[in-house]
Every structure is written in structure tokens, then in C-alpha cells.
Amino acid sequence: MDIANLIRIKSRAGQLVLQKEIFQELIEQKALKSDYREQKGKFEAILKKTIEENGDLKELPDKDGLPRYYSSQFMSETYVRILLRKEENPLMLIAEIVRENSAAYPRPIPLDTFKNSPFELTQEEILACLQKMSDQKDYQDISQTTTSAGAVFLYSNIHLDPGYASMLAEWFDVGQFNNP
């Protein structure tokens, strides 16, 4: 498997590819020997050439500054942002997703969204995050509304006023199912 293909397959599966994974792949293909320090120059040259030749391959630094890769053909910027935020503070992950949804679509989103892939937080983790947010000034715009069916929706009051958010949440949780 060539490097570009490896990155594309991983992207399709929703994964960023670490540089060391690519190195390991090249060793398995016997394109490189296992000593990284000895092979570093050759490895970087192969990598650079691959990126230059494939416009869809993108490089991202991780929090330690090490590069990771993905294919924009198979992974959207939206998804990349979610993966990167997952590595950071979960409060920021939730807040930014809520803000994006409130601003762009616009809509509140069900709290349960964060239990599903790719967020995969537990109910307890989500509630703990929301509790912490309520005490921190950076998250004072993150608000909640509860529908008549008991579902909690989150929104940013910068982008949605409470009445509008409440009406939309009721529509998404109850109204649309009564009007299929």
C-alpha cells in the first residue's frame, strides 16, 4: 500500500495518521530500514514527495508539534476540527460544537449528540462538563432548554435567543415526529 492510499483509507475510517504509523508502514513494505535516525532523511523525502504529488493530502501538527496527515477527499474539515478538539479540553469541544450549530444552521443540538460517534462522551462526562461550564466565564453563552418530551438541547445564546432555541428544540424533538 502506498502512503497516499494508507492516509486515504484511515481518513475514510475517521482517523488521522501519525508520522510514525507511516514510517512503520514503509518498514513493513521494506522501503525503509527500522532505524529512524538513520532513515530520517529518506523518510522525510518520501513523505514530502507524496504530499506534493497528492493534493488531497494535508498535514496537521499535534499538540507536541508532530505532524499528522489526512485526505481532504475522505475527511472533511468539520470532522478534522472535531478530532482536534477531542484532544483538547472537552468543555471546549462541547462549546465549539454548540456554537457552530447555533450560528450556522441555526439550531440547538440534543445533549445526546455528544454520546455518539465521534464524540463518545458518557452522560456523566457531559453533565460534568456542563456543570464546569456554568462556573467559567468563557462558557457563559452555552445554555440549555428542555423539551416537553424531556430531552435537553444545548445552544449558544450569542447566536440564538432563548425563545427561538426553545421553539426549535421542541420542533426537532417533538414537532417533526408529529409531522413526518
Binding site: 475514510r12 475517521g14 475522505f74 468539520t78 470532522y79 450556522a104 426549535l168 420542533w171
Partner: protein
């Protein structure tokens, strides 16, 4: 006929009173009306006199399909059934119901574009169609049986390749709220009792032929793949419900439920739906799971697979296997349906002991499907259940029933959300047993009349979703503002129009929706965010006209208006554009009759005008604006008293809605004062004879 592809070439006529069966050439007489509702309205105009009642032998039932039925075009499984509508109140008027399944394709393969039924048999019969061999068969042994038994019995006679469209006991009993159903779960509401009035239990079809495509085979296959590439999930939701690697956008309210980690848990070996990349055309069927959409994530465990219509990859009839329903209620453990059919049972109840998306809810769905899809009861877009809840919780049922009948129901079970209550209620509706069973089967308008409840009581609150003429709204102002209002004024039942709502609910951000709206309807302001409505503008009038014409076009071509039009797509590289010309490309290549998008829309307008003319003729008034295109009070009301056109309210301004109707009539080139089409409008659409007849009756503005 050989000149054209698409059409089978023959319209089959059956007179059940005389036993006469004859055929006429489709293309010669109906080509300018395409098929489906086009054929239906034309026959109703020419053969059924004003003043005819639904159960008169002279009423027709027209099962008609279009030139795309039975081809490889995606989503072509719809059969339009046109007749005088028995639940249309206070005067029955023309309307159509639509069933999916396999009936449409089989009818074409047997060589027919339509089956027109008139008369009344002197005993219960069923119609056997095996290619050119058509026979009226004795159905006395089937009378009194449910749809499943009937389907099985006829299939045993005709063979496993047969498709059977049958009525249940409700249709036999002349319950207006009844359906005809084929292929286990695909029903058309409102038709059952009209078949029952003709003593027609079922139509069985075996077709061994094929549909000829006039155009080049390679071009046709390329076009099919192109169309497939534009498909989203059910209702043309073009973004997934949760973030997926490939997706730039997502919408938790999307019916595109498939994703990594979500599997059909009750398949023989659980099947993961996966990320369903939009370019992977062989995995479109994994996108939609309507059981999970309506019942919540709990449904994944019980999902067997998606089922659906001929040549449709969407598979919106999700099959679920719920052993606890079988154990508790003695019903089959497998059921399938979508939307109103899937929700038939649960919709009677206000709540369930384990919440709105727990096991009891699912079991109520199972019991409801089992009973309604066998007795053949119609929900009228769940108006039946809304009426029932309202009548019960307002104390009306108690006050109207005698004590003995009231006590014969286990109301404690009902209030607790016990699905076994349905075993007490549903058969009584189907068999017209007792006052309650009888009134619920009448349809809302006749129900209100019988119990002396003013219709205006039902028009007050959006909670009931009631619109007019005994029927509910179907995607109106609550989510589509003025465009939704206009559409809901136009038909004699709920409009069943999804052209507008499939766009509004597609899941794309508002900014992209507005960009697409500007391209399609000439203005980004044709669409608003739900609950963030703005005053009327010409873009909204154009969107309403386009929506209605596309609905008629789909109903006449046999394309599914629950999926189309396809003017948005999941494809980022297309800027999420779909293609507004897909219908004309399919029609032109299939039939060989080349028509542009605009030309085909003109045909749709002709068909829609014929529906309008039938309505005017049968109502015997041209005052459509005040007598027909009426709007319930709840459209103008907001219980929270928010100002109109502020965010968070869906109510509209009365004067602005008047303007909306003005702009719509102008867009249609109809008379604004009466809302009736002008002589010019009819003549422009090639309906001079219709205009002449209406002139004679004084029904032109």
C-alpha cells in the same frame, strides 16, 4: 405506440356491473397527461358527472402509473389512485392516494399503464391480471378476511411473482377511513371503502413483460447513476444525522441515520451501516432507518433491514423484529412500515410508562402495524389519532357514548399507555362496531358533523393539525411559512406535497439553502429558517408553484414525491446542488419524447389545472379563494403572543397571507379575486374544452 418507450401502451377498463373488460391505447389518449394522476383526473373529468358520490357505481377508481414506473429510474414505485374521496367533507371531491411497493412495476410488466374500475359487482370479486389475461374472480371466500390472508390466498392462486393490492375488513364495511395495500405495508389511504362499495376485494397482478427504454442504453445507465449520485436518505435529507468523516455538515434531525457503530442488530448476522460515503452508490440502502428515526436509538437492536419499493435504494419501510411484542400480544414478531403506518399504534397514546422512546412505544407501533395493516384502516396523516386523543381528554367520548359502551373500553389501560388497548379499539373501527368505532371511521369532517362539534373548534389550535374539508395539514406554516400555507389550500385532502419540505428539512445550513433557493426560485428569500419567518415575497410564490407542479409531475410519472425533487444533493463538489432537470432527462430518455424541464413543468401544470377544474365543477362554484382555499385560524395564532415575524414563532400575519395568495394566483395566472383559473390559463395549458365546459356552467372568472 412502438414509437415511444416508457408507457406500456394500454389502459385497462373493467366494468364490475356488467363484467365487461376492454382496453384503450394509452399514448393516443393520455400521452399529454403522462400517467398516474394525469390519467386519473382526465378520466374523472370525462367520465364521472358532477354530483356523483364516492360509493355510486358510476364513480371510478383509477389505479394509474407513469412512464417511469418499472424502469431503472430510482424511486419509481408509486401508484396513484384517483377517485371521489369519501372523507372529503362536506362534499366529496376528487383526490388521489399513492401507494409504493411493487404494484406499479408489476402493472407495467403486465402491459398496463392504468386499471380503471367502474360499476359494482353483484358479489365480492377480485381482479386477476396475468399479462393479457384479465378475469374477474369470485372473492366470496376472501370477504371478511384481512389483507394478509387475502394477499396470501391470492398469491397461492397466482404464484409467488404476484403482487396483490387488497382491502381489509374496514374497506368491506364501507369505513371511509380505510386503505388499499400491496406488498405487506404499502398503502393508499381513503381508497379502501370505494373498492368495498364496488365489491372489489383485491387486484392481483402477474406481469412477465418489461418496459422499453427508447433512448440509448449506455446513456440511460449513465443517467441512472447520475440520479443515484444525487440521492440523500429518505425525504432527500442530504446530510447524515451525526458527524461522519466525509461530511462537512450533519443534522441530528436527518433521516440519514446510518453511521459507524450503528448496526441492524436483528439481522441474522448484525450488519454495520457504516459511514455511507455519498459516492458509494451500493450503500445508499444503509443510510435510512426510519424505525431509529421515530423510535430512537433503541430501534437499532431490533432492526432487521430496510424494505421498500421497486427500484428504490432508500428502503424507507424499516423492518423490525420485536420478540417481546410477539410474547406479550400474540402478534408476529416482525413488522415493517414508515411514517404514519409505523406510528399508527403509538399515536393513539399521550404517553407511555417508560417514556416516549422506550420499549412500550415500540410495542405499540408493532401492535398498531399488525392491526391497521390487516384490517386496512387509514390514519389520515394521524388525524385519526389526534381526533381520538382530543375527544377522549376533552371528555367528549364519555359524554357522547352510552354508559354501557363507554365502560366496554379499558380506559385505565389507555391512560397508562398499554398497547393492548388497541385490541379493543382498532377492530371496532374496522367493523363499525358501536358509536365510537363508527365515528372514528368516518373521517374528521363527518365525525364532527355527527357529534355536532363545530369545525371551527378543530381549526383553532395547531395541536390538532386540522386544516379543512375533514383533513389535516401536511407540511404547512409550521415549517414552511407562507409557501406551506399556499400548498395546503390547494387540494381536497391533505396535500401530500413534499417538494418544499424535502428542501427545507434537507439538513444543510441556512446559508447554503438560501444560495440554492436563489438559483432555483430566483431569490434567497424564498426560504426562511424554521420559526424565523419573513414577510411574503415573490420567491416564496414561485417556490409554492414549483412545489405543487413537481408533486403532480411525480404523481404522474410514478416518481416518489416523498423523495423528490432532487434539487439539493449530498455532493460537496457540486456545492450541494442537485438537478432540477432530472425528471425531464429521465422522461425524455425513457419515452423518446424529448421535453425540456420547462416543457415538462407545463404538462404538470395541465394536470394540476385539471384537478382545479374538477374541484370547481364538483363544488359548483368559482369562488375558490373563499370557499376552497381556506386557512385555519391557528395559522395566525401564537399562544405565547410573540410578535409575528419574530424568531421563535411560526404564526403568520393575516394581511401578509392574503398577499401570499395574491402572489400565488398571479404566478399561476389565475384570477386573484376568485382564485379560479382563467379561460386563458386553461387554453394556454391545452385545456380549451375544459374552459368551454366551465364557461357553459358559469364557472370561469
Amino acid at each position: 405506440m412502438a414509437k415511444f418507450g416508457g408507457w406500456a401502451g394500454t389502459v385497462l377498463h373493467v366494468d364490475l356491473s356488467t363484467g365487461r373488460i376492454w382496453a384503450e391505447d394509452t399514448v393516443e389518449k393520455y400521452k399529454d397527461y403522462l400517467g398516474g394522476t394525469g390519467i386519473g383526473y382526465k378520466i374523472m373529468w370525462e367520465e364521472v358527472l358532477a354530483g356523483t358520490k364516492p360509493y355510486d357505481p358510476n364513480n371510478r377508481i383509477i389505479f394509474a402509473v407513469g412512464p417511469l414506473a418499472g424502469t431503472g429510474a430510482p424511486c419509481n414505485g408509486r401508484t396513484a389512485i384517483t377517485t371521489l374521496w369519501p372523507t372529503c367533507w362536506p362534499v366529496p371531491l376528487v383526490a388521489s392516494g399513492h401507494m409504493g411497493g411493487q404494484f406499479a412495476a408489476k402493472l407495467k410488466y403486465a402491459g398496463y399503464d392504468a386499471v380503471v374500475i367502474k360499476g359494482r359487482a353483484d358479489r365480492p370479486v377480485w381482479l386477476s391480471i396475468v399479462d393479457k389475461h384479465v378475469e374477474i374472480q369470485d372473492a366470496r371466500h376472501l370477504w371478511g378476511k384481512g389483507i394478509r390472508w387475502t394477499t396470501t390466498a391470492i398469491s397461492q392462486v397466482m404464484g409467488p411473482e404476484a403482487v396483490v393490492a387488497a382491502i381489509g375488513q374496514a374497506g368491506e364495511s364501507l369505513v371511509p377511513m380505510s386503505v388499499v395495500m400491496n406488498s405487506v405495508s404499502h398503502s393508499a389511504g381513503g381508497i379502501g371503502s370505494v373498492m368495498g362499495s364496488k365489491n372489489l376485494k383485491a387486484i392481483g397482478v402477474v406481469g412477465t413483460g418489461s418496459v422499453r427504454i427508447a433512448g440509448n442504453k449506455d446513456e440511460w445507465e449513465k443517467l441512472i447513476k447520475y440520479h443515484l449520485s444525487l440521492l440523500g436518505a429518505n425525504n432527500q435529507h442530504v446530510v447524515p444525522s451525526s458527524p461522519q468523516p466525509w461530511a462537512e455538515f450533519y443534522a441530528p434531525s436527518s433521516r440519514w441515520k446510518g453511521s459507524k457503530g450503528r448496526a441492524w442488530g436483528a439481522a441474522p448476522h448484525p450488519i454495520e451501516t457504516g459511514t455511507c460515503h455519498p459516492h458509494d452508490l451500493n450503500r445508499i440502502a444503509y443510510r435510512t432507518n426510519n424505525a431509529a428515526f421515530f423510535m430512537g436509538d433503541i430501534a437499532w437492536k431490533y432492526t432487521v433491514k430496510g424494505n421498500g419499493c421497486t427500484s428504490c435504494p432508500i428502503r424507507c419501510h424499516t423492518m423490525i423484529k420485536v420478540p417481546s411484542a410477539a410474547a406479550k400480544y400474540g402478534i408476529p414478531e416482525v413488522g415493517q412500515n414508515t411514517c404514519g403506518g409505523l406510528n399508527f399504534g403509538r399515536s393513539f397514546f399521550k404517553s407511555f410508562p417508560d417514556g416516549p422512546r422506550g420499549m412500550t412505544n415500540m410495542e405499540a407501533c408493532m401492535v398498531g402495524m399488525y392491526m391497521s395493516d390487516d384490517y386496512g384502516i387509514w390514519c389520515n396523516y394521524s388525524q385519526l389519532q389526534r381526533d381520538f386523543q382530543k375527544l377522549y381528554y376533552s371528555g367528549t367520548i364519555k359524554s357522547k357514548l352510552g354508559e354501557k359502551e363507554f365502560k366496554s373500553y379499558s380506559w385505565d389501560k389507555y391512560e397508562k399507555g398499554d398497547p393492548s388497548f388497541l385490541f379493543e379499539l382498532v377492530p371496532r373501527i374496522a367493523l363499525k362496531e358501536g358509536e365510537l368505532g363508527t365515528i372514528l371511521g368516518l373521517g374528521t369532517g363527518y365525525l364532527l358533523e355527527r357529534w355536532s362539534i363545530p369545525e371551527k373548534e378543530w381549526k383553532k389550535s395547531q395541536e390538532l393539525n386540522y386544516w379543512k374539508f375533514g383533513h389535516p395539514k401536511h407540511h404547512a406554516s409550521e415549517e414552511a411559512g407562507q409557501c406551506g400555507v399556499i400548498i395546503n389550500t390547494q387540494y381536497n385532502r391533505d396535500p401530500q406535497c413534499h417538494s418544499h419540505v424535502n428542501f427545507i428539512r434537507n439538513g444543510l445550513p441556512l446559508e447554503i439553502q438560501k444560495r440554492l433557493a436563489a438559483e432555483i426560485w430566483g431569490s434567497p428569500d424564498a426560504v426562511d429558517g424554521v420559526g424565523a419567518y419573513t414577510p411574503m415575497n415573490i420567491g416564496k410564490a414561485k417556490m409554492a408553484k414549483w412545489s405543487l407542479l413537481r408533486k403532480e409531475l411525480h404523481d404522474s410519472l410514478s416518481l416518489c414525491n416523498w423523495m423528490g425533487p432532487w434539487v439539493a444533493s449530498p455532493l460537496k463538489e457540486r456545492g450541494y446542488r442537485g438537478d432540477d432537470s432530472i425528471e425531464s432527462m429521465l422522461y425524455s430518455l425513457a419515452t423518446g419524447d424529448k421535453k425540456s424541464r420547462q416543457e415538462l413543468d407545463q404538462v404538470a401544470e395541465r394536470i394540476f389545472l385539471l384537478h382545479r377544474a374538477l374541484t370547481i365543477r364538483d363544488m359548483d362554484t368559482k369562488e375558490m379563494r373563499t370557499q376552497h382555499d381556506t386557512i385555519p385560524e391557528w395559522v395566525y395564532d401564537d399562544p405565547s403572543h410573540k410578535a409575528v415575524y419574530t424568531k421563535g414563532t411560526t404564526h403568520l400575519d393575516r394581511d401578509d397571507v392574503k398577499l401570499a395568495m395574491d402572489m400565488y394566483y398571479e404566478e399561476m395566472a389565475w384570477d386573484k379575486k376568485t382564485g379560479a383559473p382563467t379561460s386563458f390559463a386553461y387554453q394556454k395549458a391545452g385545456l380549451k374544452k375544459v374552459a368551454d365546459e366551465l364557461t357553459k356552467k358559469g364557472l370561469l372568472p
